[in-house]
Amino acid sequence: MESTRCCICGTRDAEPVGVGEDFEYRTSPDSFLTVRCERCGVVYLDPRPVRAELTTIYPDHYHAFTFTEDRFGFVYRVRRRLEARRLLAAAGSLPPDAKILDVGCGDGFHLELLREFGTPGWQLEGVDLDPRAAEAAAARGVLVHRGSIEELDLEADGYDFAILVQTIEHVGDPAAVLGAIRRVLRPGGRLLVVTDNTGSLDFTVAKRRHWGGYHFPRHWYLFDADSLRRLATHTGFIVDELDTMVSPVNWVYSLRNALDDWAAPRPIVDWFSLESPIPLAAFTAFDWLHQRAGRAALLRAVLRRPDEPSS
């Protein structure tokens, strides 16, 4: 474990928020603390596991490696359609030979959607640190760069569109990642960011321990609209769009974590999972009500690199 600091202001001026465990995968017997930066509002894990522990805290059955139709059936098919629509909306009008980069591509789920629902001429590339994810993505036939975007020497000004979907919360230095993406985007190129929303009602209710968006100890930095805007501006992006997006996942996990923590009967705990359409549908409807107030479970931002050439 190593101590951390706010990814925007770099200080440790933060107040304790929540304490929890790895309720989902039990990869660690430790307990973890989240704090909120008093200046920037960023919620972060302090201390957090060191990089050498990544293979432990991301077990082989981690869902980003194994989100398959066989296992998730109906949920898988619904999610594919929804996500494809969202991705294409954020992409806007891209040239027919656009270069697109998925940072933290996992098993290549989103890249495959872009190939299936997008324009055939698009060049699709992914970046992932984890060799297992990179292998899974390569198996889908996309070009995957193994490593972290900050360390890989990708072509500057080379990409038309980048996506950072449920990745920014996993990285050790979100400001450095955004900076690196800004470098490889062409001027005017757009970046889609999707991440868990600490401005949501589910966070308010469950932030002391069971919030699904914590994913102890895998989510290291978490944002609300204000802190994400601050990070984007801090790293030289223009915020084109910033809103919230319906998702039942954190509601379901928050409830599941609480039931698990309070030693509820196993079948009840297990019923609240991503494989159960009923709670997913119910919480989708519930979260949809909060979207109207800008408090839905996910944050969605479309950022743009300013038009002037990079310095």
Binding site: D13, P16, G18, G20, S31, F32, R208, D261, W262
Partner: protein
């Protein structure tokens, strides 16, 4: 602004004292990128958060400590802790145990006087603890229960103590009921009304280290091992032009960018040289305590973990049956009851032989635990000179001033004894972190302006 002196800006921050406050400050300053040296006079860290194990399998901590899952996580010892399943308190009055406060308020004389007080139109602002208690609880409850207890742990009449002695942790009635309910549901001793520096919640509950409270400081000390110097008494803290500039350790002068002291506030004026602004703190008093740890056969002898005993026939004012909350601190079939006796150094109880103290406590305990004499096995006595700060009205203005600043630039006085505050371990921890960060920011600004 005076010109910064380069040799001083390169000097480390010196921390005086290796209790939880000194260790937490050291770790936080290191994490903020500063050079830190901690000097501890004794041969081990821990200060008041100390543990003693005896060959019979009993574990004694210096006084009772409250630790939550949040504090244990923040300090990195949760994996060495067990959950506390229950924690409760009661008042022993008129030969029986009464819940606090609901049980007491069912007694007509207390309810009557409490209601009378609450319906008074123009209550004057309380000027002493005695006034405050009367205003809050009614005269009967204040004079028969609250005042005797606060007098026992302060060693001064409630009319001479500041109302601040009774400073309550804010919390609504509905909130308290909710937390009590959560404790029932989760079978965890949810921490209610004990911490003001971080929010309470159904998910913050009491835990306790398997090997006693010393575990917390041992862990912090391991994290900052390179910065700790044991058997290094700080003989003096040097102040020049109203600013702390160094310390003298074993006859050697050590320059310091700042000094963080955990010494009792009334000791600080004696070791600081170069200013007299600390003089008013010399007369601050701490209440010494004698803790008589009684070993007995059996378990669950007392009605609650903590039993308050305000009536004058008891030498102690509080009894704690540690094993009701932490069963592992005594061998199976045995229990540990700690009797807290307010004392003055050298007085009758302070000077009394350990065995005789044990006998005196067992005699008094028989009223509450009839089998106490038969099941008594022996005792372990701890005497603490600085157990509680005494909020005497005679120095109340100075105490309030201290709450803002000690009055010397780059000298912090932290921790329970250094701040002269009625605060528990978790408050000490978060407060210390905040103050360490503030100091780090101040020093950083100075370095920037020097460069």
């Amino acid at each position: 602004m005076s010109t910064p002196q380069p040799e001083i800006s390169n000097a480390p921050v010196v921390v005086v004292g290796g209790g939880i406050a000194g260790l937490a400050a050291t770790r936080e300053l290191l994490r903020n990128g500063l050079d830190v040296v901690l000097y501890e006079a004794s041969g081990s860290v821990g200060g008041m958060a100390d543990t003693h194990h005896d060959p019979d399998g009993f574990t004694y901590d210096t006084g009772a400590h409250f630790i939550t899952n949040r504090l244990a996580t923040a300090t990195g010892v949760l994996d060495q802790c067990r959950d506390v399943a229950r924690y409760d308190e009661t008042v022993w009055l008129g030969g029986r145990s009464r819940d606090y406060p609901t049980g007491l308020l069912t007694m007509p004389r207390y309810l009557g006087s409490a209601l009378r007080e609450r319906t008074r139109r123009h209550a004057p602002t309380p000027v002493s603890a005695a006034d405050w208690f009367r205003h809050e609880y009614g005269a009967a409850l204040a004079d028969q229960i609250a005042a005797p207890l606060v007098e026992a742990w302060s060693g001064a009449p409630a009319s001479e103590l500041s109302p601040a002695v009774a400073d309550k942790i804010p919390g609504s009635i509905a909130g308290t009921i909710g937390l009590t309910l959560a404790a029932r549901l989760t079978r965890r001793a949810v921490a209610i009304g004990y911490c003001r520096e971080a929010p309470q919640s159904a998910n913050v509950w009491h835990v306790y280290p398997e090997r006693g409270v010393a575990t917390v400081c041992e862990r912090l000390a391991a994290d900052v091992a390179d910065s700790v110097r044991l058997r290094s008494r700080v003989e003096c803290i040097n102040v020049s032009d109203g600013r702390a500039v160094g310390v003298r350790v074993a006859g050697r002068d050590v320059p310091a960018a700042a000094v963080v002291s955990t010494a009792p506030i009334n000791v600080l004026p004696r070791i600081v040289e170069g200013t007299d602004v600390l003089e008013p703190y010399r007369r601050f008093r701490f209440r010494p305590m004698v803790f008589v740890n009684l070993q007995l056969r059996g378990r669950d002898l007392l009605p609650c973990t903590v039993t308050w005993t305000p009536e004058p026939q008891h030498p102690f004012f509080r009894l704690t049956e540690t094993t009701r909350s932490m069963p592992w601190l005594a061998p199976a079939g045995r229990t540990l009851i700690t009797a807290d006796i307010g004392a003055e150094v050298g007085d009758e109880h302070w000077a009394m032989d350990d065995a005789e103290l044990g006998e005196r406590c067992i005699d008094a305990l028989a009223e509450i635990v009839p089998r106490a004499r038969r099941d008594y096995l022996g005792c372990h006595v701890t005497r603490i000179t600085n157990a509680y700060p005494v909020f005497h009205l005679e120095y109340e203005a100075d105490r309030q001033r201290l709450a803002h600043s000690v009055g010397v630039d780059r000298l912090l006085s932290i921790g329970r004894n250094g701040e002269f505050a009625h605060i528990l371990m978790e408050d000490v921890y978060w407060r210390t972190l905040r103050r360490a960060r503030h100091l780090a920011a101040t020093l950083e600004r100075r370095l920037v302006s020097a460069a």
